[in-house]
Amino acid sequence: MIQLALHNILKQYGSYLAADNVSFEIPSGKIFGLLGPNGAGKTTLIRMITRILYPDAGQILFAGQSLTDLHTQRIGYMPEERGLYKKMKVGEHLIYLARLKGLTKAQAIQRVEFWLNKFEIKEWRNKTIEELSKGMSQKIQFIATVIHEPELLILDEPFSGLDPINSLLIESEIRELSKQGKTIIFSTHRMEQVEEICSDIVLVNKGRKILEGSVSELKQRFKENKFEVKFSGELPPNLLSGFSVVEQQMNRVIVQSGEANHGNDLLKHFLNANVPVHSFQELLPSINEIFIKQVEAA
């Protein structure tokens, strides 16, 4: 099922196009990376999905239905610029935000209890937000985002300000939620996280979609047919035609092959020459490299 579909979304601020005919679909249960450099229009897209803004043209479908305000109760949004009421107590604050998402007071209390227990932070309940560290309030913000068990989660830079332990905690929660079938839109600048977490991405720049696909498919699409071989002894004297060495260190070589060639041929060549091979891998571009190239090309 398609959880969220954007069809030809257009949003203009004066003469500036913040979203220029953007379309993409997110199947349910996926962790979907929404990427783009600063000012690319990611926040505008997210704000339209969360009904903070309305598109000038185009259509957004939520689980097949045209997106309305009612759907916002089924969406959880953690913006990059986070904030909570400083003077409010953690427990009260979470209950308040949960009730705004449509939970009854009793439900809200119960869920707050559950999450505070889960994160082992029960003793924070009566602390005011201003007493918390940045990382601590980040956790509260995360709870506030998921407390109403939304079908679609939008997380904008969810790991910023978190220490490695808490990052891991949130990451495992994200995976857990994904396993439960929730759809997650993950917006970040940290590409290594995209690679680790997301199954699909869309890349936007200057309000336009410039790339879309699954992480593995994109890596394949943008690969440069390079292979890394680690070996001992001497490099075989004559490489096969169509292959050329682009980088060589002691016992490591990076070989560029032509489009038509297959890595197996290269490996066979090493084996035939009786060179002991320790590792052999195709070098795929990182999402970061793809991102930079595409943005620069655009």
Partner: protein, 444 residues
């Protein structure tokens, strides 16, 4: 609707449970008490008395002085002495550098003074220390009486006729339209009207600023992005205004209760009551001290249309609060994160201040055109109409004014919601009026 209620609840509870709320609630009546004591003390403060020498060079008043003397002011502010030395002697006395002078002024009745033409030559009053306005009025009054009486004697008018001529005219101003408006009613109505007008004026500013600060807090803490993904900006705006409004109402009820307690239990211990405090305000500006004014005032207070006031005052209070509350919220949303750009407050605060000026004017001219229009225009009507309510306004006037106020409220909320919706998510940019107008015109 349910979400607005949740927001109202939060706005209300977080504010009412703060110690600052209770400190303000308890301190304000104490402030009121201090104000009461201060106003009585200031109005009864014994200014240094002025001693005036009267030098009658014309000799016209010799007999008069012998028989009647010239009475000092009852509050001791002005003393008169009849002097018979020369003007030069007196002049040197009052010009002397001595700190404690015998006289501060000389009243010189010139030699060729003409009772039948008191304008030429005139009586002069030469002073070494400035004489206040009230004292001047008092001195003129005394001299006027003196000249009048002497003129009557000169014209051989009998003592009885003199008494008759001296009798004051008393006019009972009473309304034909309203039987309760008896003599002195206007003073009672003015005082109550002005108190209500000031109450609305102060609370619009006080709670309006509270709303503005609240909006700004949400903007700077960035929570607004989370909130607007759950509720519509309009709901957020309404929730905040109504929540703060409920806080204001609570505080008001508590204040009235506390002031009531102070007036009943504490003030009598200090010898002050609201009634005699208000009469001091009234009599301070009047020349003739009406000893019955306190009794008259209390009698007239009971004649005010209290039922009407009790129903309508809260409505105007609410209307004014909602109208300006939404505008203050819009200003808060448009302001920068650091809360600068105070200039954005100007278009909101100017009409409130103007309405107070109109309300003051209305005290003197309850049926003036300015009062009429001021009580209809929604930006001024909450304050102006409150000042007018004790003067028995016709129902059609009140109805029209309330309808316009509702329309005004709907209009400002509509405008404010548009500014608010965009303003709260606008960071790091100085917002101009031109831009705000663009937001108002823009569709979504």
């Amino acid at each position: 609707m349910n979400k607005i209620f949740i927001i109202i609840q939060r706005e209300y509870i977080t504010r009412v449970t703060r110690p600052a709320f209770w400190i303000a609630t308890l301190l304000a009546p104490i402030g009121f008490l201090v104000l009461m004591v201060a106003s009585v003390l200031i109005s009864t403060y014994d200014n240094e008395s002025t001693t005036v020498a009267i030098l009658d060079e014309s000799g016209l008043f010799k007999e008069y002085f012998k028989q009647n003397g010239i009475a000092d002011a009852t509050d001791g502010s002005v003393h008169f002495y009849i002097e018979e030395t020369s003007f030069n002697d007196l002049e040197s006395i009052i010009k002397s550098p001595n700190e404690k002078k015998k006289y501060q002024a000389i009243i010189r009745i010139p030699q060729n003074y003409n009772l039948n033409n008191p304008g030429n030559p005139v009586i002069s009053c030469l002073y070494a220390e400035r004489i206040g306005l009230e004292k001047k009025q008092f001195i003129i009054g005394r001299l006027n009486d003196m000249v009048k009486k002497q003129r009557m004697i000169a014209n051989q008018i009998s003592a009885e006729t003199q008494d008759l001529l001296q009798k004051k005219v008393d006019v009972a101003f009473e309304s034909l339209m309203n039987l309760n408006e008896k003599k002195g009613y206007d003073i009672a109505a003015s005082i109550v009207g002005l108190l209500m007008a000031m109450a609305i004026y102060i609370s619009i500013f006080f709670y309006g600023t509270m709303i503005m600060k609240g909006v700004q807090e949400e903007k700077t803490s960035r929570i607004v992005e989370v909130l607007t993904s759950s509720v519509k900006p309009f709901q957020l705006l309404m929730g905040k205004i109504m929540g703060v409004g409920a806080v204001g109402m609570t505080q008001f009820v508590l204040w009235i209760f506390l002031i009531f307690l102070i007036n009943i239990f504490v003030a009598p211990l200090l010898g002050i009551t609201l009634a005699n405090q208000t009469t001091t305000i009234h009599t301070a500006s009047a020349n003739d001290i009406d000893t019955d004014s306190a009794a008259l005032l209390i009698q007239n207070l009971s004649q005010l249309p209290f039922t009407q006031i009790m129903i309508l005052f809260p409505l105007y209070f609410l209307g004014g609060f909602l109208l300006y509350g939404s505008l203050f919220a819009a200003v808060g949303a448009a302001m920068g994160e650091d809360g600068d750009q105070q200039s954005l407050m100007l278009p909101v605060s100017v009409p409130i201040v103007i309405s107070v000026f109109i309300a003051m004017n209305v005290m003197n001219n309850p049926d003036s055109a300015m009062g009429f229009w001021g009580s209809l225009i929604p930006f001024t009507s909450p304050v102006v109409m409150s000042a007018l309510l004790p003067f028995h306004q016709p129902w059609w006037h009140i109805t029209l004014s309330l309808l316009l106020l509702i329309a005004g409220f709907v209009f400002t909320t509509f405008i404010a919601a548009k500014i608010y919706r965009i303003g709260i998510l606008m960071y790091g940019k100085k917002i101009t009026f031109k831009e705000m107008i663009k937001w108002i015109i823009a569709k979504n």
